[in-house]
Amino acid sequence: MNASAISIPHDHGHHGDDHGHHGHVTLQYQPGLPLTRGKLIMWLFLSTEIMFFAALLGSYVVLRFGAPVWPKPHHVHLSEPIGAFNTFVLICSSVTIVLALEAARANKASLAKTWMVLTLALGTLFLGVKAYEYQAKFAHGIYPWSPRSRVFEKPDLYYGSAVRARLGEPAMIDRLKELDDTPEDKLTADEISGRRRLKQIRQMVTSPDQQPFDLAVVADQVMPLPPDGADPHGGHGPHGLNDTFPWLELPAVIPGGTMWASTYFLLTGFHAIHVLVGLIVFAIMCTWTLNAKRAGGIENAGLYWHFVDLVWIFLFPLLYLF
């Protein structure tokens, strides 16, 4: 049981202020858990959050290990150093919010404000890095939903027809003609080689003698999968036609990539929403005088923020390093 359900005064000499005005002690029944209502509500909320993220992380793990193929982090243009940096940023913000709480408890309002502003800045930095990472996915046609996503699971006939359809778009035909007509001295060596390979791909996807292996070659030219173990620090691997000519935006093949995109954006997206909510709370708190009276509020906001950090502690290895 908790010790404060019933309050019994004990130490008469030491804590003089425990007595009422008339020299006798007032006994009052203390209902509930020995913590403030705000903190109790925050902890109840956090216990629902544990289940919320457990469901998301659990489905990710179960989907990932039940899938016949799952893309390697480099196949989907994930950069581990960026993920590690974001982990570091979030850990730092956890420290600054806990220091803000300590300062507020010691009634050092301006120091608490400094730590709070720093927490806000670190959280914003985290979201900024996250946005940059999302941009890298979008630039490679990796979206969580179908009409925008250019990711195909395997180099089959559907993939071939999608490439053919993209190359047959009126705007694309004009653009390709423009590229074909550009004299060689106006192109870089990479673009000259790219143009030559692009021509061969255009023949391959329309040829009546097409072999199944041709489509794998097309997929490899459009966006190659970095080989296993090679170039662990490069992050982006070899150059494909989509990188040489960013306007091409051809469909690419990443085996297991569509499911990967769904889980990645769902997990990191919900986490980012939680970060955003925390930042709004911190921004509001930055307008307050953060003295000892506000310590309870800062503690509750801090509990929430540490939980957000906690989720990222599991997300980082599961998404970036597994």
């Binding site: 049981m1 010790a3 404060s4 309050s7 019994i8 004990h10 804590h15 202020d17 425990d18 005005h21 002690v25 007032t26 203390q30 209902p31 858990l33 020995p34 913590l35 403030t36 209502r37 705000g38 902890w43 216990s47 544990i50 289940m51 457990a54 659990g58 179960v62 290990f65 016949p68 193929v69 581990e80 570091f88 850990i91 956890s94 420290v95 806990v98 709480l101 300590e102 180099p155 089959d156 559907y158 030559r196 061969q200 292996f213 070659v217 490899d220 999968l225 662990p232 085996p255 297991g256 309870g296 503690e299 801090g302 509990l303 540490h306 950090d309 906690l310 980082f316 390093l321 597994f322």
Partner: protein, 168 residues
């Protein structure tokens, strides 16, 4: 029993906070919390910085699995187990020190253990329908789903240098 009662000099700990007349329960608890700060200030900036250093060190350790120094690159399971152990340690540090759970009374178990058990059940309940979904699949689906052979096919295409050979 309160976690604080390990300290025999702490009268609040032995009997809980005393509510003064005209005070709400929340105010009592606020005062009690402040009294504890004075008594044995459980946080302490030094302790937080130590935990911070440990968290940074642990992050570096899990990052090690990605570096070329990691000796078990061919057995990913070793790395996974290692990273999960590191993550659980980091989570424990954050929960115990930053969330002050180490110094909280026993209500912490009431709120966290059932939620954690539910979390584990949730993940386990997904296994039959989702984790094992590809054990038996329709022929139609088998035709269209990605398989390890597709990855090999793409790698062969990358190694074949078919297009660059044609250029010469």
């Amino acid at each position: 029993m309160s976690a604080h009662s390990r300290d025999p000099h702490d009268s609040h700990a032995a009997h809980g906070p005393v509510t003064r007349s005209g005070e709400t329960a929340d105010e009592t608890l606020e005062h009690a919390a402040h009294a504890h700060e004075g008594d044995h200030g459980h946080g302490g900036i030094g302790k937080y910085l130590l935990v911070f250093a440990a968290l940074c060190g642990l992050t570096t350790m899990s990052f090690l699995t990605y570096s070329s120094f990691w000796p078990w690159r061919d057995e990913p399971q070793v790395g996974w187990a290692f990273m999960m152990a590191v993550s659980c340690t980091k989570a424990m540090l954050v929960v115990l020190f930053f969330m002050h759970v180490l110094w909280e009374a026993n209500w912490k178990y009431v709120l966290t253990i059932p939620a954690a058990m539910m979390a584990v059940f949730l993940a386990i309940m997904l296994v039959p329908d989702i984790g094992l979904r590809n054990r038996m699949v329709a022929q139609e689906r088998a035709l269209h789903m990605a398989r390890p052979s597709d990855v090999r096919l793409l790698q062969q295409a990358g190694e074949s240098k078919l297009l660059s050979d044609q250029a010469h």
